[in-house]
Amino acid sequence: METVYVICVGVLTFCGVFLCLRGRTFSVVVGLTMLSYAVNLFLFSSGRLSLDGAAILGMAESYADPLPQALTLTAIVIGFAMIAFVVILAIRARADLGNDYVDGTDPPDADKLVKPNGDKV
């Protein structure tokens, strides 16, 4: 279980970091989302992974650490709000700046880019 968990967190973090380094706001937003998923999983595991552990006293033989669960819940809520904000901001930036690059300017080789319908920009 630990190995699968570690690989999941690692791959998510890798994808998140990679996408955050991209030039367009859409991929950066997706990257931030992935990073926050990775963080949530990571926080959850900080109380050690256990099967069939109850979080409430007196309910079972074995117990799971309830604190990371609370932390993860808080982190999910905050992360969700932040992602919502950054999505709106990205749309606003697209409208204000006229393109969806993080820098706000077209890259120097923008004329080589191809539009989705196949025309040159």
Partner: protein
């Protein structure tokens, strides 16, 4: 009632900010109601923080357990001399910028005053909390308020700057959570005092993991405080923000510096066994580089607000140098310099905005433009703020730098500290005097300045309130130094913290 005093600086802006969203205050036309409410709230916060400060001075540090869950389990607020001093500083700054915004910048959007209150809520919370996860939550509160404040009023520059600022800080928040998870995984606690107890007892392999967590946290605090190489966002962001917002942001970098002082003195301080002072070898060169690059940036700035932003970086570097000396005396000097630099850079942003209002399309760029209308008034304000920022006597910048220089007693450090503080000071003077001569003396001969409106009294009032702090600090220097010395001694005395928290090193 007095038992609950430590949580009042958090509750007042929270409830006040929420109330300002409700009908008697909401709406574009009811801005006068909002102004009165904002003024009352700011005065209440200032009064509350001063009473809290008095209590802390008389009775020692106060531990407040939210919901009465005792440490190490509950969420703990901890008001010691350092944190109440910073809360008072924040409320004074908030009052100054609220007054300034009455001049008209609060009407650019409907939610200026509520957002300022939420921002202050996050700032006070970050200063008062003694729980790392709670610190994260308050960071997010102050960040989301700052995201919206930065874009307040709208405009292309603000949007572009905001995109960078938001993305960087979201990545920073993710790193913060990774660091928290790592530290919780090895120590099993999030209470700063409790963590200080457990760090020295870690086995060698656990200590390595804790070191990774602690170093990740330095990246987060470095990003918040604009430590090199994480400072690139700052000049652009501060130059894009509207003046009162930029002035309020002057304390945000100091939140990062405060967290570095708190976490790396208490948790990874000299008592932390293998991990004692683990980040100091990193902070030394970075702090020096921060000062140097901030100074170069100040010399290269094309306008006054970017110059002010670069001076913020210089002040952060100076504070980090004082941190790297790791003595209570140096910390005390840093706290004095922190009060000074926060208020003076905030005043500089406000004065830059007033100058920009009267120069037409040239705004605050260093180019030949028409004459400023209220040249005498703004000129006097500018020279006072420039002298204070550059560290010339008789203002507080001189005093702040002097005590930092004096605190560097070790001869190896002394060469570095003295040269890194004094030489950039000279260049700051050059940059500021060049700015002043261009802004005030190089005018186009043909135009007279009659057409631009004078600055409002609220704006002058707000800027003067912040600016007056500088001579006041210098005048009552002995008392302030006495206070910061006591605050630094309290910060470095981990045993005292554990006693206040009722945590005992042996009973585990």
């Amino acid at each position: 009632m007095t038992v609950h005093l430590p949580i009042l600086p958090i509750l007042i802006p929270m409830l006040g900010g929420l109330l300002m969203l409700l009908p008697p205050f909401a709406g574009a036309k009811r801005y006068l109601h909002r102004r009165v409410a904002a003024l009352v709230l700011m005065l209440a916060q200032l009064a509350c923080s001063i009473i809290l400060m008095q209590m802390v001075v008389e009775n020692g540090a106060i531990m407040y357990a939210v919901g009465d869950w005792q440490p190490p389990y509950g969420i703990i607020l901890y008001a010691d001399k350092l944190s109440v001093m910073l809360v008072a500083l924040g409320s004074l700054l908030g009052l100054g910028i609220t007054l300034y915004s009455f001049g008209g910048s609060d009407r650019e959007g409907k939610y200026f005053h509520p957002l300022v209150q939420f921002q202050l809520l996050g700032i006070y919370g970050a200063f008062l909390t003694n729980d790392l996860f709670n610190l994260f939550v308050f960071f997010e509160v102050l960040l989301i308020a700052s995201y919206t404040l930065l874009i307040h009023g709208g405009g292309k520059h603000k949007t572009a700057a905001n995109v960078h600022y938001v993305i960087l800080n979201l990545i920073g928040s993710s790193l913060f959570l990774f660091a928290l998870g790592t530290l919780y995984g090895v120590t099993g606690t999030l209470n700063i005092a409790d963590m200080a107890l457990r760090i020295p007892e870690l086995s060698q392999s656990q200590a390595l993991i804790a070191q990774a967590g602690g170093s990740l946290m330095l990246i987060v605090f470095g990003l918040k405080s604009a430590m090199l190489p994480l400072h690139f966002w700052l000049p652009q962001t501060y130059a894009a923000a509207s003046a009162p917002v930029a002035a309020l942001f002057a304390i945000m970098t100091k939140v990062g510096v405060y967290c570095i002082f708190r976490v790396y003195t208490v948790v990874f301080g000299e008592q932390a066994g293998e991990l004692a002072d683990m980040i100091v070898p990193w902070v030394w060169p970075l702090a020096i580089a921060t000062v140097v690059f901030g100074t170069i940036g100040a010399l290269a700035s094309p306008n006054l607000r970017t110059l002010a932003g670069n001076l913020v970086i210089v002040s952060v570097g100076t504070l980090l140098i004082a941190f790297a000396l790791r003595t209570p005396e140096a910390s005390a000097a840093a706290f004095l310099y922190l009060i000074h630099s926060t208020l003076v850079t905030a005043a500089l942003f406000l004065i830059a905005d007033m100058i920009a209002q009267q120069r037409g399309r040239a705004i605050d760029y260093f180019v030949v433009a028409r004459k400023i209308k209220q040249q005498a008034l703004l000129g006097v304000l500018f020279i006072v703020v420039a002298m204070a920022a550059a560290g010339l006597p008789p203002f507080s910048g001189f005093l702040g730098k002097l005590v930092i220089l004096q605190s560097a007693t070790d001869s190896d450090h002394r060469i570095w500290v003295w040269s890194v503080i004094l030489i950039p000071s000279l260049f700051t003077i050059i940059a500021l005097s060049r700015a002043g001569t261009t802004l005030f003396w190089r005018n186009t001969p043909s135009h007279d300045a009659a057409e631009s409106a004078g600055v409002s009294r609220w704006q002058i009032g707000g800027a003067v309130l912040l600016l007056m702090a500088s001579p006041t600090l210098a005048l009552f220097g002995a008392h302030v130094i006495e206070y910061t010395n006591a605050a630094a001694a309290q910060l470095h005395d981990i045993q005292y913290l554990l006693e206040v928290m009722n945590l005992d090193g042996d009973s585990k």
